[in-house]
């Protein structure tokens, strides 16, 4: 949702509003790829995130029944869990995953829809994502949709009733940063729902840039979980999101080709 297009000037205190629910943090984090649940918990806490993604997978049968559970360290009472459809390559699998997630989480219907098209790039299969989104909207789900950085497709998802649109910055887990900032800007300017960059962030400056471009938030996993010190990176990302948001609201200076002295030219004695 474009900040500059709103009639009331945006302020730092403005919450991120997704499907009518307000969140203070504009950083959303994934919970995969951590060494153990203790690290997951510590990094998630340090990120300040209120919305965390989870995957839905088969329960191990016959293994240690007292194995600690992700939801023990990230209780649904404290975090808004966002089940994803990671690993789905068809609309059918994605819809099935969302229905299982809703049952698992006692009717909680906010989901991250992603339907992948290719194992090498993990780019979305837009055709299948559209099919899944249509079914899920009719079924009452509130969908945050992972998509590519195509402004036309982003608008289509919004018109279908998705509650947030999440264009990739770069391939999932690549850490390449925002490959197409002008498209992200265009998506933001056109949007009537929150736009969150999802995937591709590598380090704090990438997250800050996403916010400076006007994004409403950023969702990331690998950039934190894969860092040498995930807890420290989580803290860095929290600050980057806030810094980028502040910079956007402050209004940056225009870019100029040549210098403009910061010290007065009058009163020199040489």
């Amino acid at each position: 949702m474009s900040t500059v297009m709103q009639s009331q000037p945006a302020t730092l205190a403005d919450p991120l509003v997704i499907a009518g629910i307000s969140y203070r943090s504009r950083l959303l984090v994934g919970t995969g790829k951590y060494r153990d649940l203790a690290e997951t918990q510590a990094a998630t806490e340090a990120s300040g995130a209120e919305i965390v993604t989870v995957a839905i997978r088969r329960t191990n049968i016959g293994q240690n029944p007292n194995e600690p559970n992700l939801l023990d360290v990230l209780p649904p009472e404290k975090y808004t869990l966002l089940p994803n459809t990671a690993g789905c390559y068809t609309a059918e699998d994605a819809v099935r995953t969302c229905r299982l997630a809703r049952e698992l989480l006692d009717g909680h219907d906010l989901v991250k829809l992603e339907v992948l098209g290719d194992e090498k790039t993990l780019f979305p299969d837009i055709q299948q994502t559209l099919v899944a989104a249509e079914t899920l909207v009719k079924d009452g789900f509130r969908i945050m949709v992972y998509t590519n950085d195509d402004p036309i497709v982003a608008k289509r998802f919004e018109e279908m009733g998705c509650v947030a649109v999440m264009p990739l910055a770069a391939p999932i887990g690549s850490g390449l940063g925002i490959r197409n900032p002008y498209n992200i800007m265009t998506i933001v300017e056109n949007a009537g729902v929150p736009i969150l960059v999802d995937a591709g962030v590598g380090t704090a400056s990438d997250a800050a840039l996403a916010m400076e471009l006007g994004c409403d938030g950023v969702l990331m996993n690998t950039a934190i979980a894969g860092a040498k010190n995930p807890v420290l990176m989580a803290s860095a990302m929290k600050k980057a999101i806030e810094a980028g948001r502040e910079a956007l609201l402050a209004g940056r200076i225009p870019r100029k080709r040549f210098a403009s002295a910061s010290s007065p030219l009058e009163g020199t004695f040489f």
């Binding site: 994934g30 995969g32 995957a55 839905i56 088969r58 329960t59 559970n69 099935r96 299982l100 999932i172």
Partner: protein
Amino acid sequence: MQIVINGTTRAVPDQTSASELLDTLGLGDKRLALEVNCEIVPRSRFDHYMIRPGDRVEIVHAIGGG
């Protein structure tokens, strides 16, 4: 009777309910979701839902993921 649980064929007693099946697997008190033959079985129906021979059962939970 034979059923398929999370992709593996297993033998379970005839007249087994969903609740009994989960108890047998040591999952009775776990937060999970159950699907039989691609249809969700709501938790509220576990006690009365009877597993039938050849059923394909999926038992899922939440794990870390992006």
